[in-house]
Each structure stands twice: as structure tokens, then as C-alpha cells.
């Protein structure tokens, strides 16, 4: 079992600041070993990778590539060549969309879900806009906040080019049935893209088991540095996909007439990459593996259950997402009747330094479906304790007393 007291000690912000941080689905805090790894990089290495012919560059390259290996191991990929480093989850999704667009024998429908984050909607919207080859459709979400599998089946066909979905919804917390979604898509020869931003920080994952074609996620949502994301793609796909962005380090041969790409992953990494962050992400994964992902999952599940239970007991609180007992990621979105979520966030911040999120969480289509103007959200991670949940609940009640309802 995770020892929260010990874990907390690794996070300098929690020492330096009086804060109960419950906005982990947006971004997480950073543990000392990761901060140290960044400093180490800048103090002892710091040379550009691959192209430098001197010891410093060689050592940097070695650390750099060993991070790539670690990422491959972490998600159970076949090979480090399947790991493309991006600047965030969003960039990975844009790369896939642009690349499929350039892939001239592709045409047909792209399916995403109503519960997708803007990052997995807008790249596809851009792709289909003004295109005669592509169309975008949305799979429905049921009233219980889960994916409507019947609707999915009915929209899936041989015309479907690709299916995008969030492993875990960043608003509902819904844990999607990866296996089922993938199998159904593959039966229709559609590619499957999982937005793993909310899954990878919390749950064990094995690409090979799930047979996904693409997976994207962000380092900064799993204790890692800002400015780094990962795009996993099956080797044979990355080999065949045209790279959408040009620059240094991604070509073998450039003449005016002809360009010969490097092999993946370099083909998709034009320009100087976030080298320090990549090296530090190796340390991040080491830290997470030290805590054990399965332990993290259990710990966060416990906090989430506690939050759902206690919020459910408050008559003027409405909770969104899957019913109690159904699988749920480490977050709860809700509204307090008569209190605007923005006011609630300010109230919790003023009353007890509790940091929560309020707004649309970059999921406006979903809020529309739910008939909501906005919502409040708490989300948990390794350094949160059940006491944090309790203080959050107390503050909600206090806020209700003070702000009451609109008259």
C-alpha cells in the first residue's frame, strides 16, 4: 500500500506551500528525483543528441535513448522505435491526424466520442474541414456517462478510417472498454487511437495486450516535466506514415528534388527535441515504477470512492459520470446547486487553500450533451490523502453556507 506520508515528502511544493492540490487531471506536481534529474542534465550533460561526435553528446544520446527504452517498456511496446517524443499529448494527436490526411489512399469516416477532450476532437475537425475525403462523427455518451456501445457499433462500418477515444474521460472519469472498442474497430479495419492522457498516470497499461494502433499521453500529468508528450504508433504504421512536419534531424537525404526520411521515430521529431525533459522522464517513470502503478491505482481509487460517497451524501450536490460501483478514473466532476463552479473554486481556495478546477475542462461538446454550462472537478494522485477529501467536503459545505443559492 502506498504510504502517502512518505510520498508527500518527495514533493517540495507540498512543503513550500500550504495547498491541498486536487487539480491533478490538469497537471501534477513534481517529485524531487525528477527535479534533480533535470538539474543533473543541465549541470553535467547538455549537448545535442545523435549528431555530436564528442563524449558529451554521446553520453547525452545514451541517456536520451535509454529514456525511450524505458517508455517502451512502461507501455509494453515492442520496440523503442515505436515511441515518438512530442511536446504534449495534443501534438501527438495532431501528428496522427495530419499524417493520415497526407496518406493519400485513406478516405472515409473518423469516429470520436462525445466525451473526448478538445485535443482529440479539434485535430480531426481540422482534418475533415474542407476535405472531400474525410468526415467526422461522434459516438454518443449514455445518460449514465458511459460510451453507448450500440451507437458505436451502428456508426462503425467499412467506411471507418479511424476511431479515437479517451482511455479515461477527463470530465466523467469513465474508464472506457479499450478491448471492446479496439476489437470492434479492427473487425472493420479501422485504426484505433487512444488518448491516454488520463489513463497512463493511473493504471497499468500494456499496448501489446490491447493491440492499439496509436496511443498518446503527456509527461506533465504523471509527475514528469512540462513540455513533453509521447506518441506511440505501431512500427509498420509509423514506417508507412508520411511525416507532416519538416525540419532538422528527420531526414537522411535532402536535395531540391527529393527528400528521404529518417526511420521512425526520428522521422516524426523534427528540430531539437526537449532533450532535458526526455532524460528526466526516464527518472519519472523510474519513480512511478518504484511506487508501483497498481498501488497508485488502488490508492487513487480509494480516494475517489471516498469523494463519490461523501459527495453523494450531500443533497445539494450533483455528481456526473458513471454510477457508484462502475469503474471510474481518479476524478469526480460535480455541481453544487445554486453555486457557480467558478465561485465554488474561489471559495475552496479562500477557505482552505484547496485547489480544484472549474469550467468546461476542454470538453465543451460533452458539457453540451450533459446540458451543463460548466462543472467543478476534483482529481487525485499519489500525494493526496483521505484527509484531503474530508477537508474538501467540509469546505464545500462551508461554501454552501456562505454563498447559499442565487435568489
Amino acid at each position: 500500500m502506498l504510504n502517502v506520508k512518505d510520498v508527500k515528502r518527495d514533493f517540495p511544493v507540498l512543503k513550500n506551500r500550504d495547498v491541498i492540490y486536487l487539480d491533478n487531471a490538469a497537471t501534477t506536481l513534481t517529485p524531487e528525483p525528477v527535479i534533480q534529474s533535470l538539474s543533473d542534465y543541465y549541470e553535467n550533460l547538455g549537448a545535442s543528441v545523435h549528431r555530436g561526435i564528442y563524449h558529451l553528446a554521446d553520453e547525452t544520446t545514451e541517456k536520451y535513448e535509454s529514456s525511450r527504452n524505458r517508455v517502451a517498456d512502461f507501455i509494453g511496446a515492442d520496440s523503442p522505435d515505436e515511441i515518438v517524443f512530442t511536446k504534449n499529448c495534443t501534438e501527438g494527436l495532431n501528428i496522427i491526424a495530419y499524417s493520415l490526411h497526407l496518406w493519400s489512399d485513406m478516405e472515409g469516416k473518423i469516429l470520436v466520442t462525445e466525451m473526448d477532450h478538445h485535443s482529440n476532437i479539434l485535430p480531426w475537425k481540422f482534418m475533415v474541414d474542407g476535405s472531400e475525403r474525410f468526415e467526422l462523427e461522434y459516438v454518443d455518451v449514455t445518460k449514465d456517462g458511459v460510451l453507448d456501445i450500440e451507437d458505436y457499433k451502428s456508426k462503425l462500418s467499412s467506411e471507418t478510417v479511424a476511431v479515437g477515444f479517451p482511455g479515461i474521460s477527463n470530465v466523467l472519469g469513465t474508464v472506457n472498454p479499450v478491448e471492446k472498442i479496439t476489437d470492434l474497430a479492427h473487425e472493420n479495419d479501422a485504426l484505433v487511437i487512444m488518448d491516454g492522457a488520463q489513463w497512463l498516470p493511473h493504471r497499468p497499461f500494456d499496448i501489446l495486450e490491447h493491440d492499439l494502433d496509436f496511443l498518446t499521453f503527456s509527461a506533465h500529468k504523471m509527475l514528469g516535466p512540462t513540455g513533453l508528450g509521447v506518441l506511440y504508433g505501431k512500427k509498420e504504421l509509423l514506417n508507412r506514415m508520411p511525416p507532416p512536419f519538416g525540419g532538422g534531424e528527420m531526414v537522411l537525404n535532402v536535395t531540391r528534388g527529393e527528400v528521404k526520411w529518417s526511420d521512425p521515430p526520428q522521422k516524426f521529431e523534427p528540430g531539437t527535441t526537449p532533450i532535458a525533459q526526455i532524460v528526466a522522464f526516464g527518472s519519472t517513470l523510474k519513480y512511478l515504477e518504484g511506487l508501483e502503478i497498481a498501488e497508485i491505482e488502488e490508492h487513487v481509487n480509494g480516494l475517489t470512492r471516498r469523494a463519490v460517497n461523501r459527495l453523494s451524501g450531500i443533497p445539494y450536490v450533483n455528481i456526473y459520470g458513471p454510477r457508484e460501483g462502475e469503474p471510474r478514473g481518479g476524478l469526480v466532476s460535480f455541481n453544487v446547486e445554486g453555486i457557480h463552479p467558478h465561485d465554488l473554486a474561489t471559495a475552496l481556495d479562500s477557505l482552505d487553500n484547496i485547489a480544484i478546477r472549474a469550467g468546461l475542462h476542454c470538453a465543451q461538446p460533452l458539457h453540451e450533451v450533459m446540458g451543463l454550462n460548466s462543472s467543478a472537478r476534483v482529481s487525485f494522485y499519489v500525494y493526496n490523502a483521505s484527509e484531503d477529501v474530508d477537508r474538501f467536503i467540509d469546505a464545500v459545505k462551508e461554501a454552501k453556507k456562505i454563498l447559499g443559492g442565487e435568489k
Partner: protein
């Protein structure tokens, strides 16, 4: 009541709970709606002029304490002002009248002011 922690200035809260000038004008000279898509807040501001003086003003919509409170306070501030005077109102003027709400909420405060500016720019 002494220990009750402060979230907002009591005045603002009062304006939110009992807003002034809420509703619709019969035949407004200007009617502008502003939205904050990040939270779904929406304020419609309506003005009636007599010459270049703002003779009537009402707002309608839904929103948080700060956007509703600010709209209520703003409508009180502008009534009787000339278009020129009203155009010169700044976010700081409004914020000063609201006991300095949190900085990260300034775009809640500015919603009605933006509507006012929009309306007057059409004059």
C-alpha cells in the same frame, strides 16, 4: 457570526443575491450579449439613451457571483452618465468598486463591462 471566513466582499455578494436593474427594457436603443465560453456565463446588457445620456439600463443573464455582482454594480454606475463618460470606465474602476476580487477571476468581472463597451462603440 464573527469568524465567518470571507470569500467575496459582502457588498458584491449582496449585489449577487439581490441584483439591481435585472430584467429587460421595453425598447432598448442598444442590446448586447457577452459570453464567457469557459464557464458558460452570459450577460445581456440593454441601454436606453436620452440625447447622449444613459437614461435606462438593465441586464439579464446568468453567471457567477462576480459576473452578476459586477453587472449589478456597473448598471448602477452608468445610469445618468453621458456616453462619453461611460466609455471611459475601466476594469479598474469596476474592480475598485468590488473590493478587489481575485485576479484570476477578472474576466468574470469584465463580462458586463465588455457588453457596455460594445454597445457604446455602436453609438
Amino acid at each position: 457570526m464573527k469568524d465567518k471566513p470571507k470569500i467575496y466582499n459582502q457588498d458584491v455578494l449582496h449585489h449577487y443575491q439581490n441584483p439591481y436593474n435585472k430584467g429587460k427594457l421595453d425598447d432598448p436603443d442598444f442590446s448586447v450579449t457577452e459570453e464567457n465560453p469557459n464557464c458558460g456565463d452570459r450577460i445581456t446588457l440593454q441601454l436606453k439613451l436620452k440625447g447622449d445620456e444613459i437614461s435606462k439600463v438593465k441586464f439579464d443573464g446568468h453567471g457567477c457571483v462576480l459576473s452578476i455582482g459586477a453587472a449589478s454594480i456597473l448598471t448602477q454606475m452608468v445610469r445618468g452618465l453621458s456616453v462619453g463618460e461611460a466609455s471611459e470606465l475601466t476594469l479598474d474602476d469596476l474592480v475598485d468598486n468590488m473590493g478587489n476580487p481575485p485576479k484570476m477571476r477578472r474576466n468574470c468581472v469584465s463580462l458586463s463591462l465588455d457588453a457596455l463597451k460594445d454597445a457604446l462603440s455602436e453609438w
